[in-house]
């Protein structure tokens, strides 16, 4: 009884400290899916609530999350590390605070029947490559291997062209399209872009630099809650998946389960807490983006992210 009262008082006190920050907005960049599993688990298990945090989720596919955080329309958002470096180069003050995927889930998928064993072989064999125009990693692959053998066409988030064209290669999140293609009867082979040396942190939680300076405690609480949420999700993705299911009719329970399974090796951190980031990797990424002509001047690595070890 007394413990419960204490808990309630603590929550009240924390909520009071939070002030207007008690209600924070978090913009996702896709529909609810295992990529955000830890967020939903933190919501479900009370990891946010116990720290006095309450989130309103917004955004979705196509949401200009970096712009929304830059304009401070939302407190937090999901982006990728390359987007953070580009945005800061364009004068925005967005900062990464938690990196879900330690290994980028971006990849290319083609048909296994083609018998191609390496990314290089895929890119040097004649065929069609469906990718979103302007992706930094495609520019990287072009510089590294050349795309001369391929007809490059836009990717429109449908695997229908892949299913009908035996020489088509397309961009994927290893947690999404390959699973859908396999369930549609195709036999895809997937190559991680990360293996070619371009490996930005992905599904990164970002915030505005101003919030870090003014309200680092809330950010630290968020990171701690996310860590707890992700640990819970990795142990058992079931409950959070059940929560996300009705919000994303395109993925059934089986697709969610398979995606959670596929992403597990990308999330773990060898030395350090879940979500933590290292300066060398930010410096390397900024250098690569400069080499590609996408960034004028790399910034000191510690401006790109904040550490909450």
């Amino acid at each position: 009884m007394r413990a419960r009262l204490l808990l309630a008082l603590t929550a009240l006190a924390l909520a009071a400290c939070g002030g207007d920050d008690a209600n924070l907005t978090l913009a996702l960049n896709w529909k609810p899916e295992p990529e955000f599993g830890g967020i939903f688990e933190a919501e479900r298990s009370g990891a946010f609530a116990r720290r006095g945090l309450a989130f309103e989720r917004t955004g979705g596919p196509g949401a200009p999350v970096v712009q929304m955080v830059t304009a401070r329309q939302v407190a937090f958002g999901i982006a990728s590390a390359d987007e953070v470096v580009l945005a800061r180069d364009r004068g925005s003050d967005v900062v990464a605070v938690f990196a879900t995927y330690q290994t980028s889930p971006q990849g290319l998928m083609t048909h296994a029947a083609r018998g191609l064993d390496t990314l290089e072989a895929v890119l040097r064999s004649p065929g069609t490559l469906a990718v979103e125009p302007g992706l930094p990693y495609v520019k990287w692959l072009e510089r590294r291997y050349g795309l001369g053998a391929l007809r490059v066409v836009p990717y429109t988030y449908s695997i229908a062209p892949f299913l009908t064209d035996p020489t088509l290669t397309q961009q994927v999140f290893v947690t999404a399209e390959p699973i859908a293609a396999r369930r549609a009867g195709a036999d895809p082979r997937v190559f991680l872009v990360a293996d070619s040396g371009f490996d930005p942190y992905t599904a990164v939680v970002i915030t505005h630099g101003e919030r870090l300076r003014r309200d680092a405690a809330t950010v630290a609480a968020l990171v701690a809650a996310l860590r707890e949420g992700w640990r819970g999700y990795l142990d058992d993705p079931g409950p959070a998946n059940a929560l996300m299911g009705p919000l994303n009719p395109e993925m059934d329970a089986e697709a969610m389960r398979l995606a959670a399974e596929a992403q597990e090796p990308l999330i773990g951190v060898k030395d350090g807490a879940l979500g933590s980031m290292r300066a060398e990797r930010w410096a390397k990424l900024a250098g690569q983006l400069q080499e590609l002509g996408l960034v004028k001047e790399p910034q000191p690595a510690d401006r790109y992210f904040a550490s909450f070890e």
Binding site: A87, R90, S92, E132, P133, V153, P154
Partner: protein, 255 residues
Amino acid sequence: MTSTRLARVAPPVATFVVGVALAELVIRALDVSPLILPRPSAVLAAAVAESSALLPALGATARAVLGGLALASTLGIAAAVALAASPWIQRAFYPYAIFFQIVPIVAIAPLLVIWFGYGPRAVVAAAFVVSVFPVIANTLAGLLSVDPALRDLFRLHGASAPATLWKLRLPWALPYLLTGLRIAAGLAVIGAIVGEFVGGGGLGVIVLGAMRQQRTDLVFAAVGYASGLGLALFAAVGLASRLALRHWHVSERER
């Protein structure tokens, strides 16, 4: 430059210069992040610096737009003539012509790629789909509004149906058709760019790539090129309309 021509060119140019200067000042004063709204000077700089990519893209988009407009005019006029043939045909088919006006091009664009494959054909198809309805609707209105007195005159002289069509009804519909084409020209540019989002090539792909790379200056520069294309087409239709109508139609007589 004659004073009348100056009087025609000066107002839009002045509006442009003042508008751009005002935007530049406001964006600077409010210190808006270039990620959210780029300064006009940055857009202009990108339009020049990236012209080696933008100009070929403009060419590709222009070809697709012209292809789409050519198809829309031929098929649109033919459809209007067919619809005007009898009220029954009109009642049976006109509602389906309206489909072209209300079809959400963004939604069907991916299907166009499945039907026509990646590349210019899908883009031409997208430009056609959005620009055919104004041609049909305007030409049909023209064909149906022929002065009854003139129609009676043709009938009294025993003119055949093809002769009436060729010598009376089509010329009568011409000003209407040209108005339809003016509307279609702007729409075709929008259709082509949406088509390029999924079919590839042209300014559409530059816009997508620039968004992805957070180059809002380049996004607006590409949009500027597309607007230039739309304006040029609008002017070309205007010129054609002046040349075709100036001797006989009240809308293009010297004002």
